[in-house]
């Protein structure tokens, strides 16, 4: 019986038919998706913090408005994604709980601090750029609600990426201090962005199953190479440098070669020792705890109104 379901399921996958919440699915598929989608949602929410850090200090009103809108979009992405995950039978509060207790992860990139305005550019260009590279294939991921959420997310993300690039472009055409600010920012964000694609394929045990179930459609290394290839071209427009002396076009491979990644740093940050892990989690926990009375009041009020309506109807 279970075997039959599994066959039908895999068959659908193979025929590129979307899996919907009411369809039968292997428990491991469900768990993998919950983990991945909630991690993705948490990344949007935690990702609001490093950029939110510069809203009050944006250098002009136009940039302030754009940044506000961008961070608001991220909250919106969080909403879509939490909703998609909820279709798999987990509540938003449960997912928050996993985040706050450290059980669920979020993208490690947000554990780095934003130290200058140029970081709003580098995050847009590199971090959102890497995210898009990961996410575009997810628009065709096998689970319907996730795929549909990603379509909306990707549309906005590519807009964000252009805005980020434009911040860097403006700085790169500015005075010496601004150019330096832009270069410094790229120096700090390049390697963490490269790490966003996750461990190398041979050290990524889940990849194979995810590919079979068409949750993923490309391996970490494939996406990373694609990202490097794109950035290595775009940096030329900025007239700035990617901080990798080994970055070089390889005619034979038809790709850019690049230097070794510091996986030690990657694992340190994943394990909680990044520059801002503690602060990010504390900020989220504080928002949650400080908001408890608001949520309770809203429920209490809603219950009263419901009673009123019931009584009136009776």
């Amino acid at each position: 019986m279970e075997k039959d379901f599994e066959k039908i399921f895999q068959d659908k996958i193979d025929r590129e038919v979307r899996i919907e919440p009411r369809d039968w699915m292997p428990e491991k598929y469900r768990q993998t998706l919950i983990r991945q989608i909630s991690q993705h949602a948490h990344s949007e929410i935690v990702g609001m913090l490093p950029e939110g850090n510069w809203i009050t200090r944006a250098p002009n009103l136009r940039r302030k408005a754009i940044l506000l809108a961008k961070v608001q979009d991220e909250a919106g992405h969080g909403l879509y994604l939490y909703s998609a995950a909820e279709t798999l039978g987990i509540s938003r509060d449960e997912m928050y709980h996993q985040l706050h207790t450290g059980k669920a992860k979020y993208s490690s990139i947000f554990n780095y601090p934003t130290l200058s305005w140029a970081d709003m550019g580098a995050i847009g260009w590199l971090v959102d750029g890497a995210a898009i590279m990961n996410q575009v294939p997810l628009c065709r991921t096998s689970f319907g609600p996730y795929a549909r959420a990603m379509v909306r997310v990707c549309k906005e993300e590519s807009f964000h990426q252009r805005q980020g690039f434009e911040i860097l472009l403006t700085l790169s055409r500015g005075n010496e201090a601004q150019k330096k600010m832009a270069q410094d920012s790229i120096d700090r964000w390049w390697w963490p962005s490269i790490m966003m694609f996750g461990p190398k394929d041979d050290e990524s045990p889940n990849t194979q199953l995810s590919m079979k179930w068409k949750i993923k459609r490309f391996t970490n290394d494939e996406l990373r190479q694609k990202f490097v290839d794109v950035c290595a071209e775009q940096i030329k427009i900025l007239g700035l440098t990617i901080p990798d002396p080994e970055l070089k076009w390889n005619e034979e491979r038809g790709h850019y070669d690049f230097g070794p990644i510091n996986w030690d740093e990657f694992w340190q940050v994943v394990q909680g020792n990044g520059p801002c892990n503690k602060e990010r989690l504390e900020a989220r926990r504080k928002a949650w705890d400080d908001g408890a009375w608001v949520r309770e009041a809203a429920s209490a009020y809603a219950a009263k109104r419901k009673n009123d309506t019931t009584e009136a109807a009776a």
């Binding site: 009050t56 250098p59 002009n60 500015g174 400080d290 949520r295 309770e296």
Partner: protein, 250 residues
């Protein structure tokens, strides 16, 4: 010396910018994700309104004045916003209550302005009024929800009322330049602002099971640049980049 019209435009702009700034401090820290989005959205609307007013003021002032030179290169004593906009956010209840007080004021003010005989000002007011109508609805619903929610939320709203009430009068007491503009631009209904504001506030507070405070004393000064000690910190933060890297494009 600035003309009454320029002062008036700066008054409108500064109110929107500073309140927008305070609301934006919530971004990423709200009690509920949907409400985080809502308060950020209001912040965005307010910054947008501020830009419109600043741009208009800048065109009136001339001399290479821009929206950004007005927002980023004036010091505390030149800002004209009401004191209530610059007060610290306090808890979510206080933020909400301030928004309700101020949006209600903006609602009646913009309603009057949209029919004034200054075309550009009327157009900005009309456009902004759509946004503010939503701000009033959103904030009043929350005032009711929190006032009539739990014992704790009720108590917190009482504290918020106590903290804010003395700062509400300033909105409604016209400065010299407001009086001049009310006359010059034939702004109808400016003299009934206080009455309308009080009626609406009373209505919502009652539904929220909250008392309407009786204190008649008003903190004032913002309209003439006499601020609280908070504004200096807001500006130090907000203006840092423009001050530290003067005269460049961003």
């Amino acid at each position: 010396m600035l003309s009454p019209k320029i002062k008036y435009l700066l008054y409108l702009a500064d109110n929107a910018l500073i309140l927008g700034h305070r609301n934006s401090e919530w971004c990423g820290h709200g009690p509920i994700l949907e409400q985080d989005i809502a308060v950020t959205n209001i912040s965005l609307d307010l910054v947008g309104q501020a830009r419109n007013f600043y741009q208009y003021a800048a065109s009136e002032i001339g001399n290479n004045t821009t929206e950004d030179s007005l927002a980023y290169l004036r010091d505390v004593r030149e800002f004209k916003n009401c004191l209530i906009t610059e007060l610290p956010n306090g808890d979510w209840g206080q933020t909400i209550l301030r928004q309700f007080f101020f949006s209600t004021y903006q609602y009646f003010l913009y309603t009057a302005l949209k029919d004034c005989n200054d075309e550009q000002l009327a157009a900005i007011a009309e456009k902004s009024l759509k946004e503010v109508t939503y701000h009033v609805r959103w904030s009043s619903e929350w005032v009711i929800r929190l006032g009539d929610g739990t014992a704790e939320s009720h108590q917190r709203m009482l504290t918020a009322l106590d903290n804010l009430w003395n700062y509400t009068g300033e909105m409604l007491i016209p400065s010299a330049y407001e009086k001049e503009i009310n006359e010059a631009l034939a702004i109808k209904g400016a003299d009934s602002l206080a009455e309308k504001w009080n009626r609406k506030i009373k209505e919502v507070l009652e539904e929220a099971t909250l008392p309407v405070p009786q204190s008649a004393w008003s903190q004032q000064g913002g309209k003439e640049g006499m601020h609280t000690e908070h504004l200096g910190y807001i500006l130090a933060e907000m203006q840092f980049l423009q001050r530290a890297y003067p005269g460049v494009e961003w």
